[in-house]
């Protein structure tokens, strides 16, 4: 169990393990925050139509190319299953079938009469995909929302191990909200906790056709450490050295500008920030895929980092 738990009005949730190090002269105890976003992409009901149909808008950067014909659940007064409508081919010209309908033209089919629909679905209800999680061969897991439940799972794995470990620094484990709609949650958390070092755990592009070789990490070859101007150099190098010393698998990716993750939103925190990603295929579709071994390896790396953050910090002279 963590020593403290906390939450804010936005919905961010965290737990803190208290470390054994003595506070410094100003009474400050150093804090490492490890954050993963809790939210997933989805849809929201914008309008109820006659005949049991719904109009919807996207929450986050949902991939319209992987939306038609999908089965979803509307989180209404009760869970309401629905299908994303598709217009049959006889009504569309061949060249139209190479274009995707806009969200304005998309509808969901709940198979319900309007009167009944109004009793259980309302404008503003959230909608998520229904694909049963399935393990493919070679330990690959497919499920909707692995961006970033895979990161949350890695944090959870770290928490389980941290319970049994004596720490020096305080370590906060953060599950933050609203990343997919603009990196909103993490900024509030960092203001609240004022961490000295932050590590963000998210997912990154895995190796698949359509992803250029220079932008991909190999699924199954371990977590990916981001290197770039917006990420703290000494901290990043310290993590890389730590992984090598402990013989843990690690991949590198260069990030020239915005990483598209919570790590980008932490400039105001003024703390060193590092980004660790789990390689993931088919991002923002209902069939996101990760290697279970990468999730576990990420958890182990986080534990090692929490244990040795004092060393990493001292070596690189990160102290304020």
């Amino acid at each position: 169990m963590v020593d403290e738990v906390g939450a804010d009005a936005l919905g961010n949730t965290w737990g803190i393990f208290r470390g054994a190090d003595a506070p410094n002269a100003e009474g400050h105890r150093p804090l490492l925050a490890m954050g993963a976003h809790l939210d997933v992409i989805g849809l929201v009901v914008t309008r109820l139509l006659p005949g049991g149909f719904l109009r919807v808008a996207p929450i986050g950067g949902i991939d319209r190319r992987a939306l038609l014909g999908q089965c979803v659940i509307v989180e209404g007064r009760r869970p309401v299953p629905a299908v994303v409508c598709t217009v049959p081919p006889h009504l569309t010209a061949a060249q139209e079938r190479t274009r995707l309908p806009s969200f304005d033209d998309l509808a969901l089919d709940t198979g319900l009469w309007r009167a009944e629909l109004q009793g259980c679905v309302a404008v503003g209800d959230r909608i998520h995909f229904v694909v049963d999680p399935v393990e493919l061969c070679d330990g690959r897991l497919v499920a909707p929302g692995l961006d970033n439940r895979a990161g949350v799972a890695a944090l959870h794995e770290a928490v389980r191990q941290l319970e049994r470990i004596r720490l020096g620094w305080d370590v906060a484990v953060v599950a933050n909200v609203q990343e997919e709609v603009g990196l909103r949650g993490i900024a509030a958390v960092s203001r609240r906790l004022a961490p000295d070092v932050v590590v963000i755990v998210d997912v990154g592009f895995g190796d698949q056709p359509g992803v250029p070789e220079h932008q991909r990490a190999i699924v199954g070859k371990g977590p990916v450490l981001a290197i770039g101007p917006s990420l703290h150099g000494p901290l990043t190098r310290g993590i890389l050295r730590l992984a090598r010393r402990l013989d843990m698998p690690i991949q590198r990716e260069a990030v020239a500008g915005a990483s598209g993750t919570d790590a980008w939103a932490l400039a105001a925190a003024g703390a060193p920030v590092a980004l660790i990603s789990i390689p993931l295929r088919s991002m923002h579709t209902p069939v996101e895929m990760v290697a279970l071994s990468d999730v576990a390896a990420t958890g182990r790396l986080l534990v090692a980092l929490a244990q040795e953050i004092g060393e990493v910090d001292r070596c690189q002279d990160l102290s304020p």
Binding site: F53, R65, V83, S282, T285, V287
Partner: protein, 367 residues
């Protein structure tokens, strides 16, 4: 919304319970079993098991068509009810060096439905997904563009070609994952085209066990790639009358104008006048309409001259032929929707038609 009013009126005005004439369990089993064109034997085995109590003899021909017969050697016009066993799917055409599977569609399919779909590959039903590269890498000006076949791969998680080859082979067929469920008041399932037709014929066979008419139920293969199984059946049986029991598009969707909806859920089975492959026999259509009126079965016309069915093969074999279809939304997609009462009404219509036929024959024989 005229169609909705009609449905509500009908619900209040009638007492036909859903799944009275067709067992829900049949439909669930039929939709759960995999059977892409060319790989129909699992479906045929199931239909044989379900249909056996209602027939005299049955056999499979060399192509895999399943024919169930009753009183076939009796005198009188020989009637065939026909539904196809197969469903649309994919076929593996190549295994890439890094373990990705390339595929082509088997049967007509809107490729826009494929990305992000969970599938089963080969006889072993290996789990896989149709991968879609991240939208983040697509420039915003190109995000309306659908993915082409060349952009798509099936991912079974294999880390390289050898790992993939241990599990799948070129030529393995691929189907959508299947879990029939209720969506609102509709039954939703995979391959309703044409498992719903099979279920309807089973319902008809059960309800007409006492009729002494020569009847065969033909469950055909390879319909989706060009009505090939039915060609063999029509040639072998040479029926006097064939009624193909199919599913057809219900485009009663937001944004689709009334004249392009083809059929509507909840308004009963659809009767075809003409489609892409045949002109239905006028006399037979009139018989079906008369049966519907006598039995007080609501029916609708298929309001589009499009598509093709096994009926074209029977028409070319020289007998009378017609098509009765169940309106379904989202055909050839991972999840289709039907309205259970439509299925019951379809069975009632066909049962009444057979009863009328039997009565006419009896009068003719007895003077």
């Amino acid at each position: 919304m005229r169609s909705i009013d009609a449905r509500i009126f009908r619900r209040e005005g009638r007492v036909v319970c859903a799944f009275d004439w067709v067992d829900r369990g049949w439909l669930e089993q039929l939709c759960a079993v995999r059977g892409v064109s060319g790989d129909e034997s699992r479906v045929a085995d199931l239909v044989w098991a379900l249909g056996r109590p209602f027939i005299d003899v049955g056999h499979r021909d060399a192509m895999g068509n399943l024919i169930l017969m009753r009183h076939w050697d009796r005198p009188g016009p020989r009637l065939v009810l026909c539904a196809h066993l197969d469903e649309v799917g994919l076929i593996i055409t190549h295994i890439d060096d890094d373990g990705w599977l390339r595929f082509e569609p088997v049967g007509g399919m809107d490729l826009r439905l494929l990305p992000g779909v969970a599938v089963r590959v080969g006889a072993g039903g290996i789990s896989g997904v149709i991968a879609s590269p991240p939208i983040h890498l697509v420039p915003s000006t190109e995000r309306d563009q659908a993915l082409a076949l060349d952009d798509l791969r099936i991912d079974i998680g294999a880390s390289d070609r050898a790992a993939a080859e241990r599990r799948v082979e070129v030529g393995d067929v691929v189907c959508f994952t299947r879990s029939p469920m209720d969506i609102g008041e509709c039954f939703a399932g995979c391959a309703l085209d044409d498992r719903a037709g099979i279920a309807a014929i089973l319902g008809v066979l059960r309800a007409t066990r006492d009729l002494a008419l020569p009847v065969a139920a033909a469950f055909t293969v390879q319909e989706e790639i060009g009505t090939r199984g039915a060609a063999a059946v029509a040639a072998a049986l040479q029926p006097d009358v064939a009624v193909v029991v199919e599913t057809t598009t219900a485009a009663d969707l937001p944004g689709v104008p009334a004249h392009r909806r083809v059929t509507r859920l909840g308004q009963g089975p659809a009767i075809t006048i003409q489609d892409g492959g045949m002109i239905a026999s006028g006399d037979l259509v009139r018989e079906l309409v008369a049966a519907a009126r006598m039995a007080e079965v609501p029916f609708q016309w298929k309001e589009s001259v499009s598509g093709g069915t096994d009926g074209a093969r029977f028409a070319r074999a020289g007998g009378q032929s017609a098509v009765v279809s169940l309106p379904c939304r989202y055909l050839h997609a991972p999840m289709g929707l039907l309205y259970p009462e439509d299925l019951d009404q379809e069975v009632r219509l066909l049962v009444r038609w057979l009863e009328d036929r039997a009565a006419v024959w009896e009068r003719a024989v007895n003077g």
